[in-house]
């Protein structure tokens, strides 16, 4: 079986700064892959390259057999890759339902069926009771969840989640993990960036570690958490001792 997403020697330079260096990575259909690494490791930049928000300076990005590297963001989305933003970008004066409808209109031309699809997505994200609330009056946590709903409404095959759990209280994390698992069980492959290690270890089938723009490790959560290089670069000795 060929990978759903294939990154080959992807490089991204901003002038003299090399944010992503020679990253080669496969994501198989149905996987949940966690992307971790210290701040400034290039995780969000890599996301933006995949989603068409940054041009790559070298390499290739193939999704479902099609080159999507350096294609505009809307084309990447239409091809089946949806993303959320680490810094939320709400449609402030739209309600939650309307925001999600913007996403569902991609596969549903008429308003009635886009609305049904959007309500369905809101229910899956457990926020259907917030349908008529304007996006600007939601809490940051709910704004992040609305980002997921919007992205999911485009009916992607690959979902890129950029720190959607940041800011959640420990009690709220398991609920969102359940939601993500359910999305994955529905046939959506998930690639996510996260700093909450407990969440990453809990949900990821595979963990990829970026450090200084380079791929440092790639393996199961257990393998990666034992990797001495990863411990030195990111997890720290304390985590290794505790694990």
């Amino acid at each position: 079986m060929s990978a759903l997403l294939q990154l080959r020697n992807v490089e991204k330079r901003f002038g003299g700064l090399q944010a992503v260096k020679d990253v080669t990575l496969d994501v198989e259909p149905g996987e949940i892959v966690g992307l971790i690494g210290p701040n400034g490791a290039g995780k969000t930049t890599l996301f933006s390259c995949i989603a068409g928000f940054h041009r790559i300076t070298k390499g290739s990005i193939v999704f479902d057999g099609r080159e999507i590297g350096n294609r505009p963001a809307f084309e990447v989305c239409r091809a089946g890759v949806a993303r959320t933003f680490q810094v939320v970008k709400p449609f402030a004066r739209m309600t939650a339902l309307q925001s999600v409808m913007v996403g569902s209109f991609l596969r549903h031309r008429d308003a009635a069926s886009a609305r049904r699809a959007a309500l369905d997505v809101l229910a899956r994200l457990r926020m259907e009771h917030l349908a008529d609330v304007e996006a600007h009056s939601l809490t940051l946590v709910l704004k992040k969840r609305l980002e997921v709903a919007r992205a999911l409404a485009t009916e992607p095959r690959l979902l890129l989640l950029d720190e959607v759990m940041a800011g959640l209280s420990p009690g709220e994390v398991p609920e969102l993990l359940d939601v993500i698992r359910a999305i994955n069980a529905g046939g959506v492959t998930v690639l996510f960036v996260e700093h909450i290690m407990a969440a990453v270890m809990n949900i990821a089938h595979r963990v990829v570690v970026l450090h200084g723009g380079e791929l440092l490790a790639d393996g199961t959560p257990a393998e990666v958490s034992r990797d001495p290089q990863v411990i030195a670069a990111y997890l720290g000795e304390e985590y290794a001792a505790g694990a």
């Binding site: 989603a51 068409g52 928000f53 505009p72 963001a73 809307f74 989305c77 239409r78 949806a82 993303r83 933003f85 970008k89 709400p90 449609f91 402030a92 004066r93 739209m94 309307q98 925001s99 409808m101 913007v102 996403g103 209109f105 991609l106 031309r109 008429d110 308003a111 886009a114 457990r126 926020m127 259907e128 009771h129 917030l130 008529d132 609330v133 304007e134 009056s137 939601l138 809490t139 946590v141 709910l142 919007r150 992205a151 409404a153 485009t154 709220e172 609920e175």
Partner: protein
């Protein structure tokens, strides 16, 4: 609330249909025509300026293109202005395509400045290409009332033409506001990056809105030419572009009825101020007008449409704010 809503609607319909018939006063009848006409232009502007969030300060360009195209075709080739208006709309679409291609990538104030410059360039061109446009002396259309000429002896006839345009534009805006295109325009206005991430080709959608808006504006420009039977290159002037934008802003940006409400308030206001105050002290009417605009923007920032909207807001859920996540479970019933 229900009754108030239908009562208001009924009054509005009767007023719109019978309005200019209750008076013989030519000045008042002119006001009715102008409200419908500027209401239509502001409604057209609202598609790009209100829904898509692209503050155009150059809509006089499309208005003038419509006026010049239909008038030139009428005077030089004897083409009926009804058809000339369509031709004017198409010329406006072509020019919007060219200017849109250049400016649509520009965000915020840069887009506004580019559209401002576009209208200014056309004004200069109209003044200097006198072989074609009669230059600064302007275009005079001989008074020859006939349906084919789109010239009428009664202002009431003009009013119904303007009203028809206005109603079509308002209906079109309503239809857009509940369809995919409208959602896309608002999404682009609220956050262009997020819109792109949801599969929206933002440049194309914005360009589409600009072309449609240009076409609609040019039709009204042709109407204006046939109504006034005289215009000059000042039709491209910045103050006309600004007026168009102001009608929509004061009435309510990105709303179906806002631009019409804005025109219905501001058009008579300018006329009245001029006739009551104009002779007292030169320029005082413009000063009072400006002061009133400032007050309106300070105290009714969402436009006058926001004052009557509660009447129409049927079964809206109360504006919930900052609901804690914990409350979600109980709220699911």
């Amino acid at each position: 609330m229900r009754i108030a809503k239908y009562l208001l609607l009924a009054i509005a319909i009767v007023a719109a249909l019978a309005g200019p018939l209750i008076t013989q006063n030519s000045f008042l009848r002119d006001l009715w025509v102008l409200v419908a006409m500027w209401g239509a232009v502001a409604t057209a502007w609202n598609l790009i300026g209100g829904y898509a969030g692209g503050l155009s300060l150059g809509h006089a360009a499309f208005f003038g293109i419509g006026a010049y195209t239909s008038s030139l075709l009428y005077l030089d080739l004897h083409l009926s202005p009804w058809l000339g208006a369509i031709a004017g709309g198409l010329v406006a679409v072509l020019s919007a395509l060219v200017i849109g291609f250049i400016t649509i990538r520009l965000r915020g104030p840069f887009f506004a400045l580019a559209t401002l410059a576009f209208a200014a360039i056309l004004g200069i061109a109209a003044t200097n290409l006198s072989a074609l446009t009669h230059g600064a002396e302007g275009m005079t259309i001989p008074f020859a009332p006939a349906l084919r000429n789109a010239i009428f002896s009664s202002k009431v006839d003009y009013y119904y033409v303007a009203l028809a345009l206005l109603l079509i534009y308002v209906a079109l805006t309503w239809w857009i506001s509940v369809s995919r295109f409208g959602y896309y325009l608002i999404a682009i206005r609220e956050n262009e990056d997020a819109a792109q991430a949801l599969g929206i080709d933002a440049l194309r959608v914005k360009l589409g809105a600009t072309l449609l808006s240009a076409f609609m504006t040019a039709l009204v420009g042709s109407f204006y030419a046939q109504y006034r039977l005289f215009f000059e290159p000042s039709i491209f002037a910045t103050d006309i572009s600004v007026q168009i934008a102001l009608f929509a802003i004061i009435g309510g940006l990105g709303t179906v009825w806002g631009p019409l409400i804005g025109a219905a308030i501001l058009v008579p206001l300018t006329g009245e101020l001029q006739s009551f105050l104009g002779s007292a002290l030169p320029g005082i009417d413009a000063f009072v007008y400006g002061a009133l605009l400032v007050l309106a923007i300070l105290f009714v920032p969402n436009g006058f449409v926001s004052l009557i909207r509660p009447l129409f807001a049927g079964k809206r859920t109360p504006p919930a704010t900052r609901q804690p996540v914990e409350a979600e479970a109980e709220a699911k019933t």
